[in-house]
Every structure is written in C-alpha cells, then in structure tokens.
Point group: C2
Chain length 209, copies 2
C-alpha cells in the first residue's frame, strides 16, 4: 500500500486539491476485471496496492499482455482524456488490488500541478510504448529478444540483471510464441550471446549487435 505522498502523479498537489479530485477508492479481488475492452471511461485509475496487467483479448480469448502496472502508477488515462473513445484494452487484477479513481476533466480543471504531472506521465508512457514497438518490429524472435535485453541492460546500467517478466509474459510482450521463444533463448545462450538462469540474465557481448 503506497501513501498518497509517494504517488508521482500527486507531486506538488495540495491536500485540498486531492480531496476534490479523488472520486472514489475501490477494492477488487485477484483475477477480476477492473476495466473491460469495449467500454468507455471518463475516469482514470491509480493503483494503490497490488498489481495489475493491461491486456488485450482476441475473439478466442487469447490474452495479449500489454504491460504491467505497479503501485503508484496510473492506468487508462489515454482513454479518459480522449473523448468517448472505446477501450481496446482491459485491465485485470493480478493480485487483490485497491484503486483510486479520478475524474479526468475535474483533475485538469482543479489542479495545474496535476496537469503537469499528467503530461510527464504521458510522455514517459509514450516512450515505454515506443520501446515495445521497437522490439516487436524486429524480424526474428532472436532479434526481438536481443533488442529487449540490450534495452533493459542499458536502462539499468548493468550487463547482468533480473528482468521483471516471466517467460510467458515476455513472449506476450514481444508478440511471439512462448515455447519458440524459449528455444531461441537457449540458442542465444549456446551461441554465447547471453547467459541466463530463470529471470536472471547476463549480456555476454555488450558491444555486438
């Protein structure tokens, strides 16, 4: 459970403003849908406790995992700030979660500080998506993996690190099939590009591509 003061979006926002802006606080149990594809929303959410995933499902119910939201992070803001746009994604509770709902328009009207924070949030989220697109647009699974691992390594400044995604999540994230990805991983290890055990990875040739 994160305290309000530690939520990045609330930085510089006064307590009085907060009282006006927060619309509701709700609990959802593990596995339940917090938002569902096809609906619309004029509120966005802040995750107070627990963990949730943003996903897309096709007509057969196959889940495409888009990203993970952790404590203190915002979700569904793109839909809340775009007029009557139907959601193309769903939000699912990975654990029991607690969520703060905030009216998009009210937030803009009542707090300049919050507006600024929202811009920063959007900008960063945009970059995250940019990165995902970059990985996905590589032609082969091996290239997608290397693109992801290099990028992750760079962002944490180490050649040895733990990734936050398990195999099936990583496969979804990169838009590939899990088992095929596993076998590509072991090929990359045999070829000496990387070594790994579970979620712990090491880049063996940091300069090569």
């Amino acid at each position: 459970m994160i305290e309000y003061e530690k939520i990045p979006l609330f930085k510089g926002v006064s307590e009085n403003e907060l009282k006006e802006i927060v619309q509701s606080k709700k609990k959802y149990s593990k596995g339940s849908y917090i938002l569902r594809e096809g609906e619309t929303t004029d509120k966005f959410g802040i995750l107070i406790s627990g963990e949730l995933s943003v996903i897309n499902e096709d007509y057969f119910g196959n889940r495409n995992y888009i990203n993970k939201i952790s404590e203190g992070s915002v979700f569904a803001e793109s839909f809340a700030f775009s007029e009557n746009s139907i959601m193309t994604i769903s939000a699912v509770a990975e654990t029991d979660v607690e969520i703060l709902w905030i009216s998009a328009q009210k937030a803009l009207r009542l707090s300049a500080a919050l507006a600024q924070n929202i811009i920063t949030d959007f900008a960063e989220k945009n970059l995250t998506m940019n990165r995902k697109i970059l990985h996905m647009s590589r032609r082969t699974t091996a290239q997608k993996l290397m693109s992801y691992l290099y990028s992750y390594s760079k962002s944490c400044g180490k050649t040895e690190f733990d990734i936050p995604l398990r195999r099936s999540r990583l496969a979804d994230y990169l838009g590939v099939e899990r088992s095929a990805m596993c076998s590509e991983l072991s090929k990359l290890q045999k070829a000496g590009f990387i070594s790994y055990k579970g979620s712990h990875f090491k880049i063996e040739k940091p300069d090569a591509e």
Copy 2:
C-alpha cells in the same frame, strides 16, 4: 501550409501567448533529418507544411517506419517532456517541410490552454500506438492485415475505403516483409475476405473475424 489558427494544439491559446512560446520556425529540404536517433531535445515540433515520417533505423540502416506526421501535427513531444531521454527514433522530411519549434517547459509555464491541448494530443497519440501494437501482436501476417483493415474500416465508418499507406509502408507499419505481405493480401482476396485495388480496400465480411 497550415494557418496557426487551424493547428489543434493552439486551440484556445492567445496570440500573445503564441508569440512567447514559439521559439523558431525552420525549413528543411526533402530527405533531410529533422531529428536524429541518439540526440536529446527539450523542444518539440509542429509541422507547418509538408510531410514527415518518424522512423527507427537498425545498425544496418534498415528503416522501420513508425508513423507519418501531417500538417498541423506535433512530433517529438514525448522526448521533449521526458527529462534527458535519448531519442530512439528519427524524424525525416518526406517532402520539403517547415517546422515550428516550441520549448516544452516554456509552453507548460506560459499557457494553461496549451497544457490541456498537449494532454489531449498525448492521449490520442497513445491510442494510436496502442492500435499499432494491437495489430503487430497478432501472430500471422494475414491476421495483422485484417486487424489493421478492420480497425481502419471501423474508424472511418465504411466498409470501403482508401488506406493512407502504400505497400512497403504498410509492411513496415505492421512489422512484416513486404512481398510476403502482398502475397497474403492476394490470398485474403481469393478467400473472399477482402477485395482491393491499390490502396482502395473493401471488407467483404464485416462481421467475421
């Protein structure tokens, strides 16, 4: 050449504010780089005339086309609003272009109206990227194509329409190989799902998936 009054981002922004905010106005010739991967920027751009593409290049110089910017649209705002983030993309002039450069921090400080417009812009851009990710995350080229075509058809409310991308751009956009995509297109046509001639498409089975 678009007039300032018609630029969506300037809606509700006074002329005085505009004078303060606009940092410079520059011309670039067809083919030149407007922004280059690896650099940083604290300004964002508005395209006044011409057309530009946002791309990513790999180490061999293969271009991955990310999206097209048309007159009146904003680009590079994610980087400008994220602190010292290195650009992972480049912007290239597709024709001779003219660009308005705006300091991100100045814009936020000097105009509340602009801040609101930036939020809307971000929200919509986010949705655009979401859509691209959705298409790309489909497993086969045929599914990616149908995902794109259905989505486009839905967004313009017709089952018969012209797409704004030529074949090689569409292939880049979907992250697949052009010629393979062409052959998938003709299979889809033979199978009766779609019909097309050039960039003119028709969805033959609007309800099916």
